[in-house]
Symmetry: C2
Subunit: 217 residues, 2 copies
DNA sequence: ACCTGAACACCGTTCAAGT
DNA sequence: ACCTGAACACCGTTCAAGT
Protein backbone atom coordinates (compact mmCIF):
# COMPACT_ATOMS: atom_id res chain seq x y z
CA UNK A 1 0.00 0.00 0.00
CA UNK A 2 1.16 3.48 -0.91
CA UNK A 3 2.93 5.39 1.83
CA UNK A 4 1.43 8.82 2.47
CA UNK A 5 1.84 11.56 5.04
CA UNK A 6 -1.66 10.80 6.24
CA UNK A 7 -0.98 7.09 6.73
CA UNK A 8 2.17 7.92 8.68
CA UNK A 9 0.35 10.31 10.99
CA UNK A 10 -2.47 7.84 11.54
CA UNK A 11 0.01 5.12 12.39
CA UNK A 12 1.75 7.44 14.84
CA UNK A 13 -1.54 8.24 16.57
CA UNK A 14 -2.48 4.59 16.84
CA UNK A 15 0.92 3.81 18.26
CA UNK A 16 0.62 6.60 20.81
CA UNK A 17 -2.83 5.50 21.92
CA UNK A 18 -1.91 1.83 22.07
CA UNK A 19 1.52 1.80 23.65
CA UNK A 20 1.91 5.21 25.23
CA UNK A 21 3.47 8.20 23.61
CA UNK A 22 7.15 7.54 23.97
CA UNK A 23 6.57 4.45 21.88
CA UNK A 24 6.47 6.79 18.89
CA UNK A 25 9.77 6.26 17.25
CA UNK A 26 10.37 6.65 13.55
CA UNK A 27 11.59 3.08 13.52
CA UNK A 28 8.48 1.67 15.18
CA UNK A 29 6.18 3.57 12.86
CA UNK A 30 8.15 2.30 9.88
CA UNK A 31 7.94 -1.31 10.99
CA UNK A 32 4.24 -0.83 11.72
CA UNK A 33 3.80 0.27 8.12
CA UNK A 34 6.12 -2.36 6.73
CA UNK A 35 8.66 0.10 5.33
CA UNK A 36 12.22 1.07 5.94
CA UNK A 37 12.73 3.90 8.40
CA UNK A 38 14.13 6.28 5.87
CA UNK A 39 11.10 5.98 3.60
CA UNK A 40 9.16 8.02 6.14
CA UNK A 41 11.43 10.97 5.53
CA UNK A 42 10.05 11.31 2.02
CA UNK A 43 6.77 12.44 3.54
CA UNK A 44 7.73 13.98 6.87
CA UNK A 45 10.87 16.06 7.40
CA UNK A 46 11.46 15.05 11.01
CA UNK A 47 10.00 13.44 14.07
CA UNK A 48 9.08 16.87 15.42
CA UNK A 49 7.17 17.71 12.25
CA UNK A 50 5.38 14.39 12.51
CA UNK A 51 4.22 15.22 16.03
CA UNK A 52 3.05 18.63 14.79
CA UNK A 53 1.03 16.70 12.24
CA UNK A 54 -0.45 14.53 14.98
CA UNK A 55 -1.42 17.62 16.98
CA UNK A 56 -3.03 19.16 13.93
CA UNK A 57 -4.93 15.98 13.18
CA UNK A 58 -6.31 15.80 16.71
CA UNK A 59 -7.29 19.48 16.68
CA UNK A 60 -9.04 19.03 13.35
CA UNK A 61 -11.11 16.23 14.83
CA UNK A 62 -12.80 18.56 17.31
CA UNK A 63 -16.45 18.84 16.42
CA UNK A 64 -17.50 22.42 16.82
CA UNK A 65 -21.19 22.32 16.03
CA UNK A 66 -22.90 25.58 16.80
CA UNK A 67 -26.43 26.03 18.00
CA UNK A 68 -27.39 29.57 16.94
CA UNK A 69 -30.40 29.46 19.23
CA UNK A 70 -28.37 28.93 22.38
CA UNK A 71 -27.24 31.72 24.66
CA UNK A 72 -23.64 32.82 24.27
CA UNK A 73 -22.92 31.28 27.66
CA UNK A 74 -24.14 27.90 26.47
CA UNK A 75 -22.23 28.27 23.23
CA UNK A 76 -19.03 28.92 25.16
CA UNK A 77 -19.73 25.93 27.36
CA UNK A 78 -20.34 23.73 24.32
CA UNK A 79 -17.08 24.82 22.73
CA UNK A 80 -15.14 24.19 25.91
CA UNK A 81 -16.65 20.71 26.20
CA UNK A 82 -15.75 19.92 22.60
CA UNK A 83 -12.17 20.76 23.48
CA UNK A 84 -12.24 18.74 26.66
CA UNK A 85 -13.57 15.84 24.65
CA UNK A 86 -10.06 15.32 23.22
CA UNK A 87 -9.04 13.74 26.49
CA UNK A 88 -11.77 11.16 26.04
CA UNK A 89 -11.08 10.34 22.41
CA UNK A 90 -7.28 10.58 22.28
CA UNK A 91 -6.14 10.52 25.88
CA UNK A 92 -2.53 9.80 25.10
CA UNK A 93 -2.29 12.20 22.18
CA UNK A 94 -3.53 15.00 24.39
CA UNK A 95 -0.14 16.00 25.69
CA UNK A 96 1.22 16.14 22.16
CA UNK A 97 -1.47 18.68 21.32
CA UNK A 98 -1.08 20.64 24.51
CA UNK A 99 2.68 20.88 24.38
CA UNK A 100 2.93 22.41 20.93
CA UNK A 101 2.51 26.05 20.05
CA UNK A 102 -0.95 26.69 18.68
CA UNK A 103 -0.51 28.58 15.48
CA UNK A 104 -1.73 26.33 12.70
CA UNK A 105 -5.07 26.91 10.98
CA UNK A 106 -6.39 23.76 12.67
CA UNK A 107 -5.70 25.23 16.10
CA UNK A 108 -6.83 28.73 15.17
CA UNK A 109 -10.25 27.54 14.02
CA UNK A 110 -11.56 26.99 17.57
CA UNK A 111 -10.01 30.33 18.56
CA UNK A 112 -11.81 32.03 15.69
CA UNK A 113 -15.14 30.57 16.74
CA UNK A 114 -14.63 31.48 20.39
CA UNK A 115 -13.71 35.05 19.51
CA UNK A 116 -16.77 35.34 17.29
CA UNK A 117 -18.98 34.07 20.09
CA UNK A 118 -17.68 36.59 22.60
CA UNK A 119 -17.83 39.43 20.14
CA UNK A 120 -21.38 38.75 19.14
CA UNK A 121 -22.20 38.67 22.84
CA UNK A 122 -21.06 42.25 22.99
CA UNK A 123 -17.46 41.98 24.17
CA UNK A 124 -14.80 44.24 22.72
CA UNK A 125 -11.86 42.75 20.85
CA UNK A 126 -9.41 43.00 23.69
CA UNK A 127 -11.75 41.49 26.27
CA UNK A 128 -12.68 38.72 23.86
CA UNK A 129 -9.01 37.83 23.40
CA UNK A 130 -8.37 37.83 27.13
CA UNK A 131 -11.46 35.77 27.86
CA UNK A 132 -10.49 33.20 25.22
CA UNK A 133 -7.03 32.96 26.73
CA UNK A 134 -8.45 32.39 30.20
CA UNK A 135 -10.68 29.60 28.92
CA UNK A 136 -7.85 28.01 26.97
CA UNK A 137 -5.62 28.05 30.05
CA UNK A 138 -8.34 26.40 32.09
CA UNK A 139 -9.10 23.77 29.44
CA UNK A 140 -5.45 22.98 28.83
CA UNK A 141 -4.84 22.63 32.55
CA UNK A 142 -7.85 20.36 32.89
CA UNK A 143 -6.60 18.17 30.05
CA UNK A 144 -3.15 17.91 31.58
CA UNK A 145 -4.55 17.07 34.99
CA UNK A 146 -6.89 14.50 33.54
CA UNK A 147 -4.43 12.53 31.46
CA UNK A 148 -1.54 12.96 33.86
CA UNK A 149 1.44 11.84 31.86
CA UNK A 150 5.17 11.80 32.33
CA UNK A 151 7.53 14.10 30.45
CA UNK A 152 8.19 11.09 28.25
CA UNK A 153 4.45 11.27 27.57
CA UNK A 154 3.78 7.89 29.03
CA UNK A 155 0.84 7.65 31.40
CA UNK A 156 2.10 6.93 34.87
CA UNK A 157 -0.55 4.34 35.62
CA UNK A 158 -3.17 2.58 33.54
CA UNK A 159 -5.62 5.22 32.33
CA UNK A 160 -8.78 5.50 34.34
CA UNK A 161 -7.09 4.44 37.50
CA UNK A 162 -7.16 6.75 40.44
CA UNK A 163 -4.22 9.07 40.93
CA UNK A 164 -4.17 7.80 44.48
CA UNK A 165 -3.50 11.11 46.15
CA UNK A 166 -3.76 9.46 49.47
CA UNK A 167 -3.96 5.74 48.87
CA UNK A 168 -3.50 3.47 51.83
CA UNK A 169 -0.18 2.16 50.58
CA UNK A 170 1.37 5.60 50.41
CA UNK A 171 3.71 6.96 53.03
CA UNK A 172 1.40 8.27 55.71
CA UNK A 173 1.19 12.03 55.76
CA UNK A 174 1.63 13.71 59.08
CA UNK A 175 -1.90 14.84 60.10
CA UNK A 176 -0.41 17.69 62.11
CA UNK A 177 1.31 19.03 59.02
CA UNK A 178 -1.49 18.18 56.58
CA UNK A 179 -4.71 18.56 58.57
CA UNK A 180 -6.83 19.52 55.56
CA UNK A 181 -5.43 16.95 53.16
CA UNK A 182 -5.77 14.14 55.66
CA UNK A 183 -9.25 15.12 56.84
CA UNK A 184 -10.47 15.58 53.25
CA UNK A 185 -9.06 12.29 51.99
CA UNK A 186 -12.45 11.07 50.84
CA UNK A 187 -13.12 14.20 48.79
CA UNK A 188 -9.61 14.19 47.35
CA UNK A 189 -9.81 10.54 46.37
CA UNK A 190 -13.14 10.93 44.63
CA UNK A 191 -12.28 12.05 41.11
CA UNK A 192 -14.99 12.92 38.66
CA UNK A 193 -13.23 14.76 35.89
CA UNK A 194 -16.45 15.70 34.15
CA UNK A 195 -17.91 17.22 37.29
CA UNK A 196 -14.64 18.97 38.11
CA UNK A 197 -14.45 20.37 34.62
CA UNK A 198 -18.03 21.62 34.69
CA UNK A 199 -17.49 23.22 38.07
CA UNK A 200 -14.57 25.35 36.93
CA UNK A 201 -16.13 26.02 33.55
CA UNK A 202 -19.20 27.37 35.26
CA UNK A 203 -17.08 29.62 37.45
CA UNK A 204 -15.40 31.13 34.42
CA UNK A 205 -18.58 31.52 32.39
CA UNK A 206 -20.38 33.32 35.17
CA UNK A 207 -17.42 35.54 35.95
CA UNK A 208 -17.07 36.52 32.30
CA UNK A 209 -20.80 37.18 32.11
CA UNK A 210 -20.37 39.72 34.90
CA UNK A 211 -17.81 41.54 32.78
CA UNK A 212 -20.04 41.93 29.80
CA UNK A 213 -20.70 45.51 28.79
CA UNK A 214 -24.05 46.86 27.64
CA UNK A 215 -26.36 44.56 25.70
CA UNK A 216 -26.13 44.30 21.97
CA UNK A 217 -29.04 42.78 20.16
CA UNK B 1 33.53 15.76 45.23
CA UNK B 2 31.10 13.30 46.74
CA UNK B 3 28.22 12.24 44.54
CA UNK B 4 24.83 12.67 46.17
CA UNK B 5 21.23 12.48 45.11
CA UNK B 6 20.94 16.20 45.64
CA UNK B 7 23.94 17.01 43.47
CA UNK B 8 22.52 14.83 40.70
CA UNK B 9 19.13 16.54 40.81
CA UNK B 10 20.73 19.98 40.85
CA UNK B 11 22.87 19.06 37.85
CA UNK B 12 19.77 17.81 36.03
CA UNK B 13 17.95 21.07 36.72
CA UNK B 14 20.86 23.16 35.51
CA UNK B 15 21.09 21.06 32.39
CA UNK B 16 17.38 21.44 31.72
CA UNK B 17 17.47 25.20 32.17
CA UNK B 18 20.63 25.64 30.14
CA UNK B 19 20.15 23.35 27.17
CA UNK B 20 16.45 22.55 27.14
CA UNK B 21 14.86 19.59 28.76
CA UNK B 22 15.55 16.82 26.33
CA UNK B 23 19.20 17.47 26.99
CA UNK B 24 18.71 15.62 30.27
CA UNK B 25 20.27 12.27 29.64
CA UNK B 26 21.85 10.16 32.31
CA UNK B 27 25.03 10.25 30.30
CA UNK B 28 25.12 14.04 30.03
CA UNK B 29 24.47 14.45 33.73
CA UNK B 30 27.23 12.01 34.51
CA UNK B 31 29.75 13.78 32.33
CA UNK B 32 28.65 17.11 33.84
CA UNK B 33 29.50 15.67 37.25
CA UNK B 34 32.67 13.97 36.06
CA UNK B 35 31.48 10.45 36.83
CA UNK B 36 30.65 7.32 34.94
CA UNK B 37 27.02 6.96 33.95
CA UNK B 38 26.38 3.98 36.16
CA UNK B 39 27.51 5.78 39.29
CA UNK B 40 24.31 7.80 39.14
CA UNK B 41 22.30 4.64 39.64
CA UNK B 42 23.66 4.30 43.14
CA UNK B 43 21.63 7.38 44.10
CA UNK B 44 18.73 7.38 41.69
CA UNK B 45 16.93 4.23 40.53
CA UNK B 46 16.03 5.49 37.06
CA UNK B 47 15.73 8.49 34.82
CA UNK B 48 12.02 8.71 35.63
CA UNK B 49 12.75 8.82 39.37
CA UNK B 50 15.32 11.53 38.75
CA UNK B 51 12.70 13.66 36.98
CA UNK B 52 10.32 13.07 39.88
CA UNK B 53 13.08 14.41 42.08
CA UNK B 54 13.44 17.46 39.87
CA UNK B 55 9.68 18.11 40.07
CA UNK B 56 9.77 17.78 43.85
CA UNK B 57 12.70 20.12 44.11
CA UNK B 58 10.95 22.78 42.03
CA UNK B 59 7.73 22.43 44.02
CA UNK B 60 9.65 22.75 47.27
CA UNK B 61 11.11 26.02 46.07
CA UNK B 62 7.71 27.70 45.95
CA UNK B 63 7.60 30.40 48.58
CA UNK B 64 4.23 30.32 50.23
CA UNK B 65 4.39 33.21 52.64
CA UNK B 66 1.05 33.95 54.20
CA UNK B 67 -0.25 37.31 55.27
CA UNK B 68 -2.86 36.57 57.96
CA UNK B 69 -4.17 40.10 57.72
CA UNK B 70 -5.13 39.78 54.06
CA UNK B 71 -8.60 38.81 52.86
CA UNK B 72 -9.03 35.21 51.79
CA UNK B 73 -9.34 36.45 48.20
CA UNK B 74 -5.96 38.11 48.37
CA UNK B 75 -4.45 35.06 50.04
CA UNK B 76 -5.71 32.87 47.22
CA UNK B 77 -4.31 35.31 44.70
CA UNK B 78 -0.93 35.34 46.43
CA UNK B 79 -0.78 31.54 46.47
CA UNK B 80 -1.67 31.33 42.78
CA UNK B 81 1.03 33.87 41.94
CA UNK B 82 3.61 31.93 43.93
CA UNK B 83 2.76 28.92 41.79
CA UNK B 84 2.88 30.89 38.57
CA UNK B 85 6.27 32.17 39.63
CA UNK B 86 7.75 28.77 38.76
CA UNK B 87 7.56 29.69 35.11
CA UNK B 88 9.75 32.70 35.80
CA UNK B 89 12.35 30.92 37.91
CA UNK B 90 12.54 27.54 36.20
CA UNK B 91 10.87 28.00 32.83
CA UNK B 92 12.19 24.84 31.32
CA UNK B 93 11.63 22.67 34.37
CA UNK B 94 8.01 23.73 34.46
CA UNK B 95 6.80 21.01 32.13
CA UNK B 96 8.56 18.38 34.19
CA UNK B 97 6.57 19.54 37.22
CA UNK B 98 3.31 19.84 35.36
CA UNK B 99 3.50 16.49 33.64
CA UNK B 100 3.96 14.41 36.77
CA UNK B 101 1.23 13.24 39.12
CA UNK B 102 1.08 15.45 42.17
CA UNK B 103 1.13 13.19 45.15
CA UNK B 104 4.34 13.87 47.00
CA UNK B 105 4.45 15.88 50.23
CA UNK B 106 6.17 18.70 48.35
CA UNK B 107 3.24 19.00 45.95
CA UNK B 108 0.60 18.48 48.62
CA UNK B 109 1.89 21.35 50.75
CA UNK B 110 0.45 24.06 48.49
CA UNK B 111 -2.77 22.04 48.28
CA UNK B 112 -2.93 21.90 52.06
CA UNK B 113 -2.53 25.65 52.35
CA UNK B 114 -5.10 26.37 49.65
CA UNK B 115 -7.64 24.08 51.30
CA UNK B 116 -7.05 25.72 54.66
CA UNK B 117 -7.56 29.15 53.12
CA UNK B 118 -10.88 28.21 51.54
CA UNK B 119 -12.10 26.43 54.64
CA UNK B 120 -11.31 29.32 56.93
CA UNK B 121 -13.20 31.51 54.46
CA UNK B 122 -16.24 29.40 55.23
CA UNK B 123 -16.30 26.90 52.38
CA UNK B 124 -17.26 23.31 53.03
CA UNK B 125 -14.75 20.53 52.39
CA UNK B 126 -16.19 19.46 49.07
CA UNK B 127 -16.41 22.98 47.69
CA UNK B 128 -12.90 23.73 48.91
CA UNK B 129 -11.57 20.68 47.05
CA UNK B 130 -13.40 21.61 43.86
CA UNK B 131 -12.27 25.22 44.05
CA UNK B 132 -8.65 24.18 44.55
CA UNK B 133 -8.88 21.88 41.56
CA UNK B 134 -10.29 24.67 39.39
CA UNK B 135 -7.44 26.98 40.40
CA UNK B 136 -4.84 24.27 39.82
CA UNK B 137 -6.23 23.58 36.35
CA UNK B 138 -6.07 27.26 35.51
CA UNK B 139 -2.56 27.70 36.88
CA UNK B 140 -1.24 24.57 35.18
CA UNK B 141 -2.78 25.64 31.89
CA UNK B 142 -1.26 29.09 32.25
CA UNK B 143 2.15 27.60 32.93
CA UNK B 144 1.92 25.31 29.90
CA UNK B 145 0.79 28.15 27.66
CA UNK B 146 3.54 30.42 28.94
CA UNK B 147 6.49 28.11 28.52
CA UNK B 148 5.16 26.46 25.36
CA UNK B 149 7.40 23.45 24.90
CA UNK B 150 7.52 20.44 22.65
CA UNK B 151 6.70 16.93 23.83
CA UNK B 152 10.45 16.44 23.94
CA UNK B 153 10.34 19.30 26.44
CA UNK B 154 12.44 21.56 24.30
CA UNK B 155 11.20 25.12 23.91
CA UNK B 156 10.16 25.65 20.33
CA UNK B 157 11.78 29.05 20.07
CA UNK B 158 14.14 31.02 22.28
CA UNK B 159 12.30 31.78 25.49
CA UNK B 160 10.77 35.20 25.66
CA UNK B 161 10.23 35.35 21.95
CA UNK B 162 6.74 35.88 20.68
CA UNK B 163 4.71 32.82 19.74
CA UNK B 164 4.03 34.61 16.49
CA UNK B 165 0.41 33.66 16.21
CA UNK B 166 0.12 35.73 13.13
CA UNK B 167 3.60 36.86 12.20
CA UNK B 168 4.09 38.39 8.81
CA UNK B 169 6.13 35.47 7.55
CA UNK B 170 3.40 32.94 8.28
CA UNK B 171 1.13 31.52 5.62
CA UNK B 172 -1.56 34.15 5.25
CA UNK B 173 -4.83 33.13 6.84
CA UNK B 174 -7.92 33.55 4.75
CA UNK B 175 -9.71 36.61 6.21
CA UNK B 176 -13.03 35.23 5.04
CA UNK B 177 -12.49 32.07 7.08
CA UNK B 178 -10.78 33.78 10.02
CA UNK B 179 -12.37 37.22 10.28
CA UNK B 180 -11.87 37.51 14.03
CA UNK B 181 -8.34 36.19 14.14
CA UNK B 182 -7.20 38.38 11.26
CA UNK B 183 -8.95 41.51 12.53
CA UNK B 184 -7.64 40.99 16.08
CA UNK B 185 -4.06 40.34 15.02
CA UNK B 186 -2.75 43.19 17.14
CA UNK B 187 -4.46 41.93 20.29
CA UNK B 188 -3.41 38.34 19.60
CA UNK B 189 0.21 39.32 19.00
CA UNK B 190 0.43 41.35 22.18
CA UNK B 191 1.34 38.86 24.86
CA UNK B 192 1.57 39.91 28.47
CA UNK B 193 1.55 36.70 30.44
CA UNK B 194 1.34 38.48 33.77
CA UNK B 195 -1.68 40.51 32.70
CA UNK B 196 -3.31 37.45 31.11
CA UNK B 197 -2.74 35.45 34.26
CA UNK B 198 -4.16 38.15 36.50
CA UNK B 199 -7.19 38.52 34.27
CA UNK B 200 -8.20 34.87 34.53
CA UNK B 201 -7.20 34.65 38.17
CA UNK B 202 -9.49 37.54 38.96
CA UNK B 203 -12.34 35.86 37.10
CA UNK B 204 -11.96 32.72 39.18
CA UNK B 205 -11.55 34.51 42.49
CA UNK B 206 -14.66 36.58 41.98
CA UNK B 207 -16.70 33.63 40.77
CA UNK B 208 -15.67 31.58 43.78
CA UNK B 209 -16.48 34.49 46.07
CA UNK B 210 -20.04 34.39 44.72
CA UNK B 211 -20.27 30.76 45.78
CA UNK B 212 -19.32 31.39 49.36
CA UNK B 213 -21.93 30.40 51.90
CA UNK B 214 -22.82 32.37 55.02
CA UNK B 215 -20.07 34.28 56.77
CA UNK B 216 -17.96 32.67 59.39
CA UNK B 217 -15.94 34.86 61.66
C1' DA C 1 29.16 -2.52 50.49
C1' DC C 2 29.84 0.45 46.99
C1' DC C 3 31.37 1.48 42.36
C1' DT C 4 31.66 1.16 37.23
C1' DG C 5 33.08 -0.57 32.31
C1' DA C 6 31.29 -3.33 28.72
C1' DA C 7 27.43 -4.66 26.38
C1' DC C 8 22.54 -4.72 24.74
C1' DA C 9 18.78 -3.06 22.50
C1' DC C 10 17.30 0.89 21.31
C1' DC C 11 17.06 6.15 19.22
C1' DG C 12 16.85 10.31 15.00
C1' DT C 13 19.05 11.64 11.11
C1' DT C 14 22.90 12.08 7.37
C1' DC C 15 24.70 10.48 3.40
C1' DA C 16 25.62 8.06 -0.41
C1' DA C 17 24.32 4.51 -3.30
C1' DG C 18 20.70 2.39 -5.69
C1' DT C 19 16.42 2.50 -8.98
C1' DA D 1 12.73 11.81 -9.14
C1' DC D 2 12.00 8.84 -5.60
C1' DC D 3 13.58 5.34 -2.44
C1' DT D 4 16.46 3.14 1.22
C1' DG D 5 20.57 0.49 3.59
C1' DA D 6 24.58 1.49 6.12
C1' DA D 7 26.55 4.30 9.32
C1' DC D 8 27.02 7.85 13.06
C1' DA D 9 26.38 9.63 17.33
C1' DC D 10 23.48 9.15 20.56
C1' DC D 11 19.98 6.81 24.39
C1' DG D 12 18.55 3.98 29.40
C1' DT D 13 19.57 0.12 31.77
C1' DT D 14 21.44 -4.81 32.88
C1' DC D 15 24.97 -7.41 34.35
C1' DA D 16 29.08 -8.94 35.86
C1' DA D 17 33.46 -7.80 37.29
C1' DG D 18 36.16 -4.95 40.06
C1' DT D 19 37.42 -2.57 44.81
Amino acid sequence: MQLTRERIITAAMELIERDGANAVSMRRIASELGTGVMSLYNYVPSRAALLDGVADQVMSSIELTIDPGASWEDQVRAQARAFQQIARTYPRCTMVVVSRPADSPATLRPVELALATFRSAGFGGEDAVRAVRAFIAYIVGSLVREVGVTPGLEPQRPLGQDPAILAADRPILNPAEFPQVTSLTAELMRRDHDADFEFGLDLLVRAVADLRPARRS
